[in-house]
């Protein structure tokens, strides 16, 4: 049996991209279903933010078994930031981390993200895309903060859908 590495990798690559694509499209299809069911008076942004909150809460819950305080708060915070990054990388984004100058502060930079493209394709306003990402990121912290008895926040400083080239978010300890 001959093994052609290029053939195997390109096959995997194609399927991975198709899977990425399906994630985005499935979300957009369900968004449309939710809006259809909600009726003409529903505010699409409100519906989407509700979905984003649910998604964020569920993601946060799935991280609880993996985040680990044993090596102290700094290591824990990097673990949290890496979990954020991995969540988007798995969807096709490129996300880099950088420690902030202040203690307990990390910057996350999305150099590339597929979601604005999906939004454009399905006619979703760019600002809704930004606000939904924001909502997901913040909702993740809801359970994480309570579980570890901490108070962290994440806020958006720049956003690709706003034409700023990258999405830049600051994850930091409040107070």
């Amino acid at each position: 049996m001959s093994f052609n590495a290029e053939k195997e990798i390109s096959k995997l690559w194609r399927n991975l991209h198709s899977a990425h694509d399906e994630i985005g499209k499935t979300y957009m299809r369900w968004r449309q279903v939710a809006l259809d069911l909600a009726g003409p008076n529903a505010d699409p942004l409100e519906v989407s933010l509700k979905a984003a909150e649910r998604i964020g809460l569920d993601i946060g819950k799935s991280w609880l078994p993996r985040l680990n305080w044993t090596k102290g708060e700094d290591a824990w915070l990097m673990g949290l930031a890496q979990s954020y990054a991995a969540q988007w990388i798995n969807q096709g984004a490129i996300v880099k981390l950088e420690k902030g100058e202040k203690p307990f502060e990390v910057f996350l930079k999305w150099e590339r993200c597929p979601w604005p493209t999906y939004a454009k394709e399905y006619g979703v306003p760019m600002e809704e895309d930004v606000l939904c990402c924001d909502k997901i990121l913040q909702s993740v912290l809801q359970d994480v903060n309570i579980f570890f008895n901490v108070n962290y926040n994440i806020e958006t400083l720049k956003a690709i859908p706003r034409g700023q080239g990258v999405c830049l978010r600051k994850l930091y300890k409040v107070g």
């Binding site: 049996m1 609880l64 044993t70 570890f148």
Partner: protein, 663 residues
């Protein structure tokens, strides 16, 4: 005035001479217990789903009460609230109403019938409870990290007061039912431990804050229960000495010890020392944790409190607690899983029949069953949870039905079947082509992380075979000619599995080796090893080789590695595979082997190469050899263990036992 409920004289027993510290009395509160042995409260899921005690549970407890030979025998912890938030197991007994008292009385009577001290445990499962309702209760609404558990509601002060009252009312019902000693369960993530831990108690009122605040509810329970039941009923508590929750900001060891001191100040009569929560990511009681590893916690407790200190947690042999008691590091030997595996374990110790103990192999199948709402069972004790059913006990065969039984294979299936059949009066001959008994367990026990303990099962079976007169023919392979020469009435094939052949593999090809030959050291393997088969034998040999410095890759058809290992142990193996740098390619096949490379094919057709000097075959199939010969001769045939369907040690033992009863 201290009282002793039943008279026991151990002086004539060999065990009392060998382990004098285990068989001397101790005073707990105003009660004198004649020995230092306790069957610790253990959930078994055997009760009615409304909380009423069943005959199955009574029989289960009676057998354990017989085992403690006059010591303490605790029934499982009861939940105490009618809303059932405190219920952690579908078959957990309840005590929230007087209607439960008659059932509880049956348990106390069963324990007393064996002249043992009857213990009653109060157990609100808190964070890991509410098995039948959508929300749990706790001091704070800290989210669950395991999805299996329910979301939490923070208890109001009124609810805390009500919870304390529920403990008091349940304690009174326990005493009314006839129990002699009470215990509060504050371990592994149950409600009391939730109040105590900084991880789960974030309250800012008087029930939270520092460790004294977090202990307030516990102190109230201790004091109010003591006041309600009087000084003649001792009250103990089970508390974590080490939560092992550093990863989620749990209590410090100092805080844990403080809980012992506070409990003692509040009037507790003994402390049972435990370690870890269900949510802990550190192994505590599985086979990979060496026996006696946690004794240092009991010693620490002894240094900090004056009341008696008890402990279970991997004290599977009497030598360990006997020495610890002698050294002043422990007062009472708690036993839990060891008496699930063998209810009469301490009785056998006393009677000098230690060889006849069926030792627990610390697989945690019992726990895995409970968490899946199934009745208790034991990996190696087929009678467990069937104590009430006469069909599960060996009955003597009628004189005209006694048979000559030939068993092929002296592994765990064959030997289990052999001694049970012999005990019933059959003439049993067991054959094995090897000179040693044990079958594949001889090799399997060479795998790391405690698998040497698997041999205890074989040793027990050999003792029982000898006791009941099973005749061994070691070094003798069962062949068609032998069957035709002997013409027994029954043949039991317990020959173990046959190992799968990979396509293209020649019998004399040195690239392919058998798992048994590798584990026993009969063959050498190369630097890069591919283990073919991702069930337990594959994991065992992979870990063994990785520990010897080999680069190991597992390839197997099951969707996850360790598919045949119960979930309460499997997570350990997954961590060990990672720690030892072993990749497991599951849901995969070996497509081709050539030039130092194995071509792995995923379930959906992707190919990738893995460097390989040796392929270890662990994939097994049923063994049909001799079946046709036996049936052709008209001899009654049974096939058991891996020869029937390759599975695990448990299946071998259970198959053997059942067929031993049927012959």
């Amino acid at each position: 005035m201290a009282k002793q409920l039943f008279e026991w004289d151990y002086s004539k027993y060999p065990g009392a001479k060998k382990y004098p510290n285990l068989f001397k009395p101790i005073q707990i509160g105003n009660l004198i217990v004649p020995n230092r042995i306790k069957y610790a409260a253990t959930e078994d899921n055997l009760n009615d789903h409304q909380g009423f005690v069943t005959d199955a549970d009574v029989a289960y407890i009676r057998s354990r009460a017989e085992g403690v030979v006059g010591g303490l025998c605790f029934m499982q912890g009861v939940y105490m609230d009618p809303v059932r938030k405190g219920q952690g197991y579908v078959g957990q007994a309840a005590a929230w109403d007087d209607k439960f008292v008659p059932g509880l009385k049956k348990l106390a009577d069963a324990i007393h019938s064996e002249k043992a001290v009857a213990g009653f445990q109060l157990m609100d499962c808190g964070r890991v409870g509410s098995v039948e309702v959508p929300f749990g209760h706790g001091p704070s609404a800290v989210p669950q990290r395991l999805r299996i558990f329910r979301p939490m509601h923070e208890m109001t002060k009124a609810e805390i007061k009500e919870m304390v009252k529920q403990h008091v009312d349940a304690a009174k019902r326990g005493v009314e039912a006839g129990f002699d000693i009470l215990e509060i369960s504050g371990i592994v993530g149950y409600l009391i431990s939730n109040f105590i831990s900084s991880y789960t108690n974030r309250r800012t009122d008087e029930y939270g804050g520092d460790i004294r605040g977090r202990m307030r509810a516990v102190v109230e329970i201790i004091q109010e229960v003591k006041a309600a039941v009087g000084q003649d009923i001792p009250l103990g508590i089970r508390l974590c000495c080490m939560e092992l929750l550093d990863d989620v900001r749990g209590n410090t060891p100092e805080e844990s010890i403080e809980t012992y001191k506070i409990s003692e100040e509040a009037g507790i009569d003994y402390i049972s020392v435990t370690a870890g929560w269900q949510e802990s990511i550190v192994p505590v009681i599985s086979r990979d944790v060496p026996m006696g590893s946690w004794l240092h916690l009991a010693k620490k407790a002894k240094q900090n409190v004056k009341v008696p200190v008890q402990m279970a947690y991997r004290l599977f042999v009497p030598e360990l607690p006997d020495k610890a008691i002698a050294a002043g590091e422990l007062d009472i030997w708690e036993i839990c899983r060891s008496m699930i595996a063998d209810p009469l374990m301490p009785k056998k110790v006393l009677e000098g029949r230690q060889e006849e103990i069926r030792h627990c192999v610390a697989c945690n199948l019992c726990l895995a069953r409970l968490f899946r709402d199934a009745p208790m069972t034991c990996y190696i004790n087929p009678l467990c949870a069937h104590e009430h059913d006469p069909k599960y006990y060996p009955q003597p065969a009628a004189e005209d039905e006694k048979k000559i039984v030939m068993i092929a294979g002296a592994g765990p299936a064959g030997m289990e079947c052999a001694y049970v059949a012999a005990q019933r009066g059959h003439e049993v001959h067991i054959y094995d082509k090897r000179e040693l008994v044990g079958g594949t367990i001889l090799e399997a026990s060479q795998a790391p992380y405690g698998d040497d303990e698997l041999m205890t099962c074989v040793n027990f079976q050999k003792t029982m075979c000898d006791k009941y007169g099973v005749q061994f023919h070691l070094g003798t392979e069962v062949t068609p000619e032998l069957i035709q020469d002997e013409m027994p009435d029954v043949v039991v094939l317990a020959t173990g599995p046959v190992y799968s052949k990979l396509e293209g593999a020649e019998p004399d090809d040195k690239l392919f080796v058998n798992v048994l030959d590798v584990l026993s050291g009969r063959v050498e393997v190369g630097k890069n090893v591919v283990v073919w088969g991702n069930r337990k034998p594959g994991i065992g040999v992979a870990l063994d080789l990785a520990k010897k410095g080999k680069k190991v890759t597992i390839v197997g058809r099951e969707k996850s590695a360790g598919f045949d290992v119960n979930p309460s142990f499997k997570w350990r193996y997954m961590i060990y595979l990672r720690q030892n740098g072993i990749n497991a390619y599951n849901d995969c096949d070996i497509a081709e082997i050539s030039d130092g490379v194995v071509m792995v094919k995923t379930y959906d057709g992707y190919l990738f190469p893995v460097p390989c000097d040796t392929v270890v075959i662990t994939q097994r199939e049923a063994n049909d050899n001799l079946k046709d010969v036996v049936q052709g001769e008209g001899i009654q045939l049974f096939v058991i263990g891996d020869a029937l369907v390759p599975r695990n040690l448990s299946s071998a033992v259970h198959d053997g036992y059942r067929i031993g009863l049927r012959i």
